[in-house]
Symmetry: C2
Subunit: 333 residues, 2 copies
Amino acid sequence: MATMKEIAEAAGVSQATVSRVLNNGPKVGLITRQRVQRIIEELNYRPNANARALATKRRNEIGVVLADLYEPFFATLAHGIDVVARKHQCQILISSGSVGADSERNAIEPLLEHQCNAMVIHSKSLPDEYFVDLARSVPGLVLINRHIPDIANRCVWLDNIAGGKLMAEYIVRQGHRDIAVVSSDFSIDDPIDRISGIRQALKEAGVELKESNIEYAEPNPEGGEKAVQNLLAKGAKFTAILAYNDAMASGAITTLIDHNIDVPNDVSIIGYDDILLAKYCRPKLTTLRYPIELMANRATELAISYGNGLIPAQDASFKYSPTLIRRDSVKRL
Amino acid sequence: MATMKEIAEAAGVSQATVSRVLNNGPKVGLITRQRVQRIIEELNYRPNANARALATKRRNEIGVVLADLYEPFFATLAHGIDVVARKHQCQILISSGSVGADSERNAIEPLLEHQCNAMVIHSKSLPDEYFVDLARSVPGLVLINRHIPDIANRCVWLDNIAGGKLMAEYIVRQGHRDIAVVSSDFSIDDPIDRISGIRQALKEAGVELKESNIEYAEPNPEGGEKAVQNLLAKGAKFTAILAYNDAMASGAITTLIDHNIDVPNDVSIIGYDDILLAKYCRPKLTTLRYPIELMANRATELAISYGNGLIPAQDASFKYSPTLIRRDSVKRL
DNA sequence: TTGTAGGCGTTATCAG
DNA sequence: CTGATAACGCCTACAA
């Protein structure tokens, strides 16, 4: 692969000149520029990004840390980052597979070695202090789906308590009183917050939520199936299910239908996230829209501009709220 | 951020020694090694990947080119790459958003500048010669979902003609004679091959496929809806629909249900891809399983080992075949 | 407008 | 076992 030196020789100029035409440097004679450009084409020269990064101490790369690329939620998140990165001509360096503090750290480490000055991180396990600390050495650090007060100007997050409230208020307004909850057994804040929101709203409405009507399982369709099986096995009484996410809701529906329980005529159900599935499962899912793509866009814009030297405003805050999407899985009693 | 030089000074040794302990170089005194190691920890030193890449002319990075990260198909593909890359401790550099020859080229270019020696590329528009050429300068080049005879040992692809046949043979075996096809209007090989397979099988079975029973639209749920609307509007007669992919099948079902046509009792339908949607839409979709994750795994393993110097065997070939997954969207007549 | 030369942070090849 | 020292490919003052 041709190097700058070779171009310079072939064109009979110095490396500096080649470098200048490459970077649209000022002050290069038109004829020289054209000659050099021609040679570059001819030799099919490509600048070495590593060398350039070394010399300039910066690189148009944005580091991304995600739990995976497969789940629709993360795929949408990745897409949101991707779109903005592309707009800014940034490459995306992805470190995924992070579940748990150690693997999250292991995912972040290589990005630091790559000297990415912009990073969008989705981390649920590493402690707050870790990021407060990291923010000092990575100017373009931004967290998504997490709220750390000390660096709130680097956090783009969703108000899950509000989301929980919204679900509960709506289902109560539709006349339901016997509520079941199908939640995630992951020990992160999200399920806790959502249930907490549900509890608050239910309490205000004077509706009781029995502990035995709450089931925890993995936040995927299989988990949803299992949770409802347990509910049914226990003989729990409910006319509505509030699910942790659409995936669980979908699994829940599967089990209900298998038991000849019609949705929404016998049991109503509300999902959370509004992933593609929600729109194309049958019945179409009434759910809470998690504006993850929007949030990812925002996070990426932030990361890039912070990485480019913009100083985060002290009082900046990026809280998003879910909204209710009414489809066909809830019946008014 | 601390550099090797600083570590060396602080430890009272030369850079060379630091480098040795870092790379587990042989022949370093135990005491020196420990001292250096301690300083490294203390100063929170991190090697600069760019400098290292420059010096070694290699980098543990695998370049990936995809159309997007959002579509379940691509998300699964990305995940398949991700898993293997992680196993090999490789970072993933993603260039997405490639639709059409120009943008595909623009996606590949930066990966070359990054000197990735392993690349997994999904490209539908760039001509064969481009890749035959590229293979000469990128030892670890591997194409996924494409078959280029000249570099067949770098291609991991699916036999779409066989897939088309499979769908058609199955639907005929189930007693259907009035077939409609809902295909993609993208001008790439895949839809052509699938329909070609369908035609062959139908012809062999002596079943006619009317041109007017074929509709083309975008390969997404909306496209599926639209295609079936057109079919219905034309008054086309059919008891079964062969869809280009699960997304279109899902959209097709939506339209059918909206028109009070029951699936599968009135109309049967077969999808293609077996994405998550297929399993969780209602009715569960009978479809062709596209082993894309498996293929992505394979492609990545290949790319990495080719990139590490393994010479591709002349006669190697990586053709995969779809298999039929029977669920609930087909009725036997 | 163009060239010279030093440096970016590592690795790797020599000697010692 | 350890230390100089020359690459690696590019950028960027500073000179010319």
